[in-house]
Symmetry: C2
């Protein structure tokens, strides 16, 4: 996203706990340094971290950026977080005179690098106005879901519920088919043309056929995001049995050592439990 902003002609400061990422960014023309020191010069802050605690640390922790931001600047918070947390961040930013966009992103690292993310955004109209140049540089599609923080994170949670369940369902169906003599290759040829298809199935099932678990999106992302979904659901007294079942499969994949592999590796749990050999396995 920082690279997309650079390409969009903006002056961009990049920060990452990974020093190599910061170096790479500087080599491509960006700046870096201590957030707190340059905060006053920023029009917008884009926070792309793992979860709610990290978001809060960046904004309000020791050396947090909000304390130094000018009035009228805008924070775009992109992590998957509970809607309730997004509302609290918006309120705390408002106390500091800072605008806030609840802006979870969808599309993964490939679309992020191309400036073609989808953003499930909500926030005050003046926050959208301040954030417009950033959104224009980073996003292909901006869903504007409401005038206050929370709606963006809620829709993101809904999308992650479905996406995670669909990846696990794909793995369940493909390996079930293998027990009945359906090869992964035939599965990928036929099912995308049938009513059983999903976006995630069409995107991830080929990884299993190729035996390629290079992480486009990792198993651990789903242990995290489906966990967030279930936390939100429990708070709302909402029972989500499919989400719970899918989470257990991702947790088992993670516990089996596949946490940093592509999320299609959840199929390895099914295969091992059923004594099946996936493509590319010994």
């Amino acid at each position: 996203m920082a690279a997309s902003l650079l390409r969009g002609g903006h002056e961009v400061h990049g920060f990452d706990v990974n020093a190599k990422a910061t170096e790479r960014f500087r080599a491509s023309g960006g700046s870096s340094g201590e957030m707190a020191q340059i905060a006053g010069a920023l029009d917008a802050v884009v926070v792309v971290v793992l979860n709610a605690p990290q978001t809060e640390t960046v904004l309000f922790g020791e050396g947090g950026v909000v304390a130094g931001l000018s009035s009228g600047s805008v924070v775009l918070a992109c992590a998957t977080v509970p809607p309730e947390f997004a509302r609290r961040m918006e309120a705390q930013c408002a106390e500091a005179g800072v605008l806030y966009i609840d802006a979870p992103i969808s599309g993964g690292s490939v679309k992020a690098a191309a400036g073609k993310l989808s953003v499930l955004a909500s926030g005050a109209p003046e926050a959208f106005e301040a954030a417009a140049p950033v959104l224009e540089a980073c996003a292909e599609t901006v869903f504007r879901l409401g005038d206050a923080a929370g709606a963006g994170s809620a829709m993101k949670a809904v999308n992650q519920l479905l996406a995670g369940v669909h990846i696990a369902a794909m793995a369940e169906a493909m390996t079930f088919g293998m027990t009945q003599g359906i090869s992964p290759e035939d599965f990928v040829k036929v099912i995308p043309l049938c009513a059983g298809t999903s976006w995630m199935l069409e995107n991830r099932a080929p990884h299993i056929v190729d035996g390629d678990y290079t992480p486009r999106s990792a198993v651990d992302i789903w242990s995290k995001d489906l966990g967030i979904v279930l936390d939100i659901a429990r708070g709302a007294k909402f029972g989500a049995p499919l989400t719970a079942a899918a989470l257990q499969q991702f947790v088992a994949a993670s516990g089996s050592g596949f946490g940093r592999e592509d999320d299609a590796a959840v199929a390895k749990v099914y295969a091992r439990n059923a004594g099946l050999t996936l493509p590319g396995d010994e």
Copy 2:
């Protein structure tokens, strides 16, 4: 399917336990009567019933059709059945000199009426040759999955697993979203453009928005088909936790009196458990 065959210029005999369906068929130019009496004159028999026991009754029960069929005629068996059952039917037909296509169908009653079904078919080359005029009249797409019965039913089971899980996941996600302030209307506007979409979601979610549970495909179809999938899976010592969770939701919908409603009515179970009111509800 019988009507499609009539439109295709074939002489067609129709049989249904529902006398009204038979009458309607006769009114549109078809014939009817006792199967066993006209069996000898038939080139092909298309069996579109609920499940394996009904298929076996039609073929080999009292007054069953196979005993009267001429050598070289072909049976197309279209119900969702275990692959093992399809192989047994093929073998029993072969003993009577009758060809057999394992031919489960996909597309529902709307596509069936239009002669635009998808057929997940497997069987001997000579069986396909004999069945070609029937498939041409009834199907838009014929997936030819192998030279023996079983593969067609296996792929159908794989597709039903996914389709059933995706309908329940859609209901789970939409009602979860409602607890977070996402309206069903916004869900249907946004999610089909995101990675969380599925064919079933795009097809069924609008039924909930419209509060229209006219059965295009009924809840009870999924109690049946996911049950068949889990029977096959247990036989193969294959654990299918998402399928099992989805089945329970359809069973609860059926037990709540929604069995004959559109399968999107599985959302009513989620809504009631969470104290939500769906569109069209009092």
